[in-house]
Amino acid sequence: MILVAEGLRKLYGEFCALDGVSLGVAAGEFVSIIGPNGAGKSTLINILTGLTPPSAGTVRFKEREIHGLGPVRLARLGMARSFQLVHIFPDLTVLETLQAAVVARLGRGTRLFASLARDRDVQREALEVAELFRLSDKLGALARHLPQGDKKLLDVASAFALRPEIILLDEPTSGVSTADKTAVMETLVAASRRIGLQAIIQVEHDMDIVFAYSDRIIALHQGKVLADGAPSSIQADQRVIDTVIGRRARAR
């Protein structure tokens, strides 16, 4: 198990956003987290990545309790993430964004007088990731000028540029047109293979995508794990159909 969570609770005042969530993710797994709006999916991702402290429960990443580590050290340990609402650097170019991730990964951020442009390693890796994510022809564009889908892609690409062992993606294809979703997923899978990623955890609403790509699916509902298992078992789970997959599946 590379990532293990036990008994996670998250209270926002009186409101309980997560209530006793436990899960384990093993190397080689592609896990999708599904659930209706407000189920606690983003809250879970934020706790797993050390962004939000849980009210109770523990998270262990590579056998190490992450309590108090914070995102910076988790990133160094090999965990990367993207956000539900795009997180980009609006005034940096695509290339600069990717370079920043590589600089951070290689620990070169304290090089005060070195030339970034002449850093071959940083340059090479940044271009490689741009290529993987098909951003090569937009290297000079400012992030805030990119179309919504590319912003999302850049957010994800910069997480991949860290060459992490595990990556957590909060709705990587939201804001991407339905026609492009599969292309984005193919890119993700190809990139994962290329960098030797161990595990992916993603939050996703599109059930076609979820069932096509996941090894395992965790369904959340009102802060609790409703079901956790292989796609075939989830697909057959009546409670999941009622609360998550819902009308869409029945309409077919």
Binding site: V72, Q99, S115
Partner: protein, 316 residues
Amino acid sequence: MTGRLLVAAAAAAIAVAPLVASTYHVLLMLPFMAYAVVLLGLNLLFGYAGLVSFGHALFIGIGAYTGAFLTSHCKIRSLEVILIAAAALGALVAAPVGALCVRYVKIYFGMLTLAFGMVFHTFVLKFYRLTGGDEGTPFLRPSLLGRSLEAMPKIDYLVGPYYYYSLAVLVLATLCMWRIVHSPFGLCLKTIRDNPAKAETLGIGVTRYRFHAFVISAVYAAVGGALLGPPIGNVDPTLAYWTHSGNIVFMTLLGGFTSFFGPVVGAFVFIYLQHWVMSVVPYWRLIFGAILAAIVIFAPGGLLGLLEPRRAAVRL
């Protein structure tokens, strides 16, 4: 490329100014060059790290008082020694002040730096023995590169050797800062300015980088502050007063904080405009207040931002 040519042309113009311009104008170049050094540092914090300090007069004061103290009380006249001491003392004071301030952002950062500036101002006023209180301390004529130059008439000294010495310091400071902002470190600062939460998820430690930027900017302010001293000949508490901190933020906005040379242009325009306005009407602050308002409203990217309309956006 045109950018490089422009910079080279500007440097050449500054270099030949003493040969062609009137003494009045050449003397005004001295505070310009000193402020340019200060602003290069301030803008690492402002334009590149996204933190607006309202307390940097503190570090200008530290630089200027270091020079005054060394020349008046310690018989140390070497400007090289003075500048190094100013830089070291600036960094020494910036370390604890910065460590505290950079934990806060936006208005809280600004107010904390302002508070430290006020504390320092009171300190120089009250510690009479060390600073001369109200009256200040004389900044005796420093020797340059080991040459005393004591016999020279003051004006000749200032528009001659001192002028070129200041220019050399400015060029060196510019080259260093150019490297810093184009280094991996500079890039990390920009990520923090744009989106600190995202920067953290990439493994970029926000407070650590802000702290380094703070200390570097303080060193620049202290060196610039030390350069301000000799032309005035006397260092007094107004140099460390908070309105002085406001002035340098004004210069930065005037020239434009989104470009590397914006603040330098701002310093130039500010100083010449100030002297011109003062010679025409008695209320220069009134005029400057109006100019500041106009810039914030109509040209948030400053003067250089006007040349580059694409980037004229408010980012505060």
